[in-house]
């Protein structure tokens, strides 16, 4: 089973990468891209066929290793 974990900076945390990318896009003429925030994306292959187990495992791993709870939050999708 595959779980996808999206890790993003908490909204209150400044994202210099996103800002720099947005500015670069503006200077390339993409004024319509108003803002960019950058995060991390993980695909986990899990040895389980249960959605609930997969979700719980992904959450545990995200808590422990994938996300830094001080500045980041995460979201999980399982298919």
């Amino acid at each position: 089973m595959r779980a996808r974990v999206f890790v993003t900076l908490k909204p209150s945390v400044f994202d210099p990468q996103g800002r720099t990318i947005a500015e670069a896009l503006h200077s390339l003429g993409y004024q319509n891209v108003e803002d960019v925030r950058q995060g991390k994306y993980f695909e986990l292959d899990l040895a389980t066929t249960e959605t609930a187990t997969a979700r719980a495992l992904a959450a545990e791993v995200a808590d422990k290793v994938l996300a830094n709870p001080v500045i980041e939050s995460y979201r999980i999708e399982v298919d």
């Binding site: 210099p16 720099t20 990318i21 670069a24």
Partner: protein
């Protein structure tokens, strides 16, 4: 001879390349601001190391859109010698002037240290006074120098002899242990098909004076000086330079 050193926002080895050209080798040198489009009569272009645009997004990803890159492309197209060092190499890859891409070092950490490099090709303007098989000791300093190319591309560049330097042990033998970043085929430097554009991860400008602990980087600069002087008129003559 006039060196043009391109300065992107976030370049940080621009002064080092300029110093090597001007003070160590006594050549003329000019900084070329990334927003300009005038190469100020440079005979050779250096894209220096650093973190252009902070290396945010991907190394070199945004620098390739700088206005100066149009003239750089044209210069390269005329056969002019272009050297990308470290971040400059990454920019040349992102711009498509050189084949392949960079991944993070396989150890995931930035590494700054001296490495050993075997000269594979001496028919580029930046290696023409080196000997094939010569082992150079030059520092690296990068977090994303893990060179990658898709299988077909890799075949092509090997077949075309576009690999200019490889990481080796002190005796010039390739081995995984002496590959500092996991680059495929231990590739440390490549050139384009026409051989006038070279990208290298190691920093030759950091190894040009005995006081800095080594002079093996001089051969890169001496090569291009030799290429340009013996070639007489620039461009095409350069292609014939070397063996």
């Amino acid at each position: 001879m006039r060196f043009g050193v391109i300065v992107f926002p976030g370049s940080n080895c621009d002064e080092d390349a300029y110093y090597a050209a001007k003070d160590v080798f006594g050549q003329e040198a000019e900084y070329l601001w990334h927003k300009d489009t005038d190469l100020k009569g440079a005979d050779v272009l250096i894209l220096p190391g650093g973190f252009a645009h902070g290396d945010y997004l991907r190394t070199g990803a945004m620098a390739r859109f700088s206005p100066i890159m149009g003239p750089v492309r044209a210069f390269a197209g005329r056969g002019g010698p272009v050297l990308g060092i470290c971040n400059g190499f990454q920019i040349l890859l992102e711009s498509g002037l050189l084949p392949g891409a960079m991944l993070r070092n396989r150890g995931l950490k930035y590494r700054c240290e001296h490495v050993h490099l075997r000269v594979e090709q001496t028919d580029t303007p930046f290696t023409r006074v080196a000997h094939a098989g010569q082992v150079l000791r030059i520092p690296i300093g990068h977090g994303e120098g893990n060179y990658f190319a898709p299988v077909d591309t890799l075949k092509t560049i090997e077949a075309n002899r576009q690999v200019v330097l490889r990481y080796t042990d002190p005796n010039g033998v390739v081995s995984d242990e002496w590959n500092p970043n996991g680059s495929v085929n231990a590739i440390a430097a490549v050139c384009n098909e026409r051989r006038n554009v070279v990208g290298m991860m190691p920093h030759p400008e950091r190894a040009c004076e005995p006081l800095l602990g080594g002079v093996d980087g001089r051969v890169i600069f001496e090569s291009v000086l030799s290429a340009l002087t013996s070639g007489g008129s620039k461009g095409p003559a350069l292609q014939m330079a070397g063996q």
